[in-house]
């Protein structure tokens, strides 16, 4: 049998990245700022979004809602009268545990890019796989909740290192827990010293104003650039 060695030297995720670039091109063309929003299941992504999607000072927000199955989160956000597009990863059985660039691309025709300034892609709740797949976003934000404990950044550095902003959510629960907020922030800093961090409570609204300003600035920075 004749054997040949073939040089490949290709990042195995190149195919995804190529589609992510195509998505990014479409977003740029429409002048839409895109956020890839990630967290473990139950960290409070949807509740956090409920706090801000209609509150960004003239910034028109749309949401692309990624879930394995069902439209529970999309229904909550639709009630706020913002354009929400549901993207289920369930392809008959099981379902992908993350969104990739191609899944986002397949849903783009349903996203009213001409009517929004910012698209927030709420990824599937998972602290591992979403970190591997760019979808064409400008920034990556993650939420981690204090109920997840202090060591999550050390256990899932891939995700914590992928994000520009880390929201530490549910800080209203600190008095009831045996966790130290300082310890959580220290561990985030250890894994990703370049990340910004914000301590928030989606339930009480504490710290949300700072996040709203951060999100608004993202769009205003783009608006300052030539269209």
């Amino acid at each position: 049998m004749h054997r040949t060695k073939v040089k490949v030297v290709t990042d195995a995720l190149d195919a995804n990245n190529t589609i992510a670039h195509a998505n990014r091109h479409d977003f740029d063309h429409a002048g839409v700022t895109v956020v890839n929003f990630m967290s473990a299941p139950g960290a409070g992504k949807t509740t956090l979004l409920e706090r801000i999607v209609t509150e960004l000072d003239g910034v028109r927000v749309g949401v692309l809602e990624g879930d394995v199955a069902g439209s529970y989160d999309a229904d909550r956000l639709s009630a706020l009268h913002v354009p929400v597009t549901q993207l289920n990863t369930d392809a008959g059985f099981g379902g992908e545990c993350h969104l990739d660039a191609n899944m986002v691309r397949s849903a783009l025709h349903e996203v009213p890019l001409g009517e929004i300034d910012m698209l927030i892609i709420e990824n599937v709740g998972n602290l591992v796989c979403p970190a591997e797949f760019r979808v064409g976003e400008d920034v990556r934000i993650m939420a981690t909740s204090v109920t997840e404990g202090e060591e999550k950044p050390l256990k899932y550095p891939l995700m914590f290192r992928a994000c520009e902003l880390v929201l530490v959510n549910k800080i209203d629960l600190i008095p009831h827990l045996d966790v130290s907020l300082d310890r959580i922030l220290h561990n985030i800093d250890s894994v990703n010293p370049k990340a910004e961090t914000m301590c928030v409570s989606a339930r009480t609204g504490e710290g949300i104003d700072a996040w709203k300003t951060w999100m608004g600035d993202l769009v205003r920075r783009r608006a300052g650039a030539p269209a």
Partner: protein
């Protein structure tokens, strides 16, 4: 747990480069910072390559250590802990020199015209063991 998703990406990449030839081995360079569990990746690779030209191929993983570099003080060091501040100046302007690779470096392919290895479907059908 991301090995299923990564295994899919590997098989797709290899199939694209194999040009319909039978693949016998896949050589990968994987950085430590990718947090890949080799056994898990090998397990999924075997399942995911079924019914493709990659089926039965050996997956060889070269694990690349994580080396970091601090821009301001030019220190370079190896890490096996998730600690990304510079131990000398405590600076945050630290980048990974290596350890983030997830690369298919090369593949071995065999000539499909040789039917004696049973990989040819027609030959397998007409000559049952």
């Amino acid at each position: 747990m991301h090995e299923l998703a990564l295994g899919t990406a590997i098989v797709d990449t290899v199939v694209a480069h194999a040009d319909e030839r039978k693949v016998t081995a896949v050589y990968m360079r994987i950085g430590r910072l990718r947090q890949v569990v080799p056994d898990s990746l090998l397990f999924y690779f075997e399942i995911l390559s079924k019914d493709t030209v990659v089926e039965g191929a050996r997956l060889e993983l070269e694990l690349i250590p994580a080396r970091l570099r601090c821009a301001p003080c030019a220190r370079e060091w190896e890490v096996d802990m998730p600690a990304f501040r510079c131990p000398t100046c405590s600076g945050a302007d630290v980048t990974a020199v290596s350890g983030e690779e997830f690369e298919v470096e090369s593949i071995d392919v065999s000539d499909e015209s040789d039917v004696s290895d049973g990989s040819d479907k027609e030959a397998a059908c007409t000559a049952p063991r």
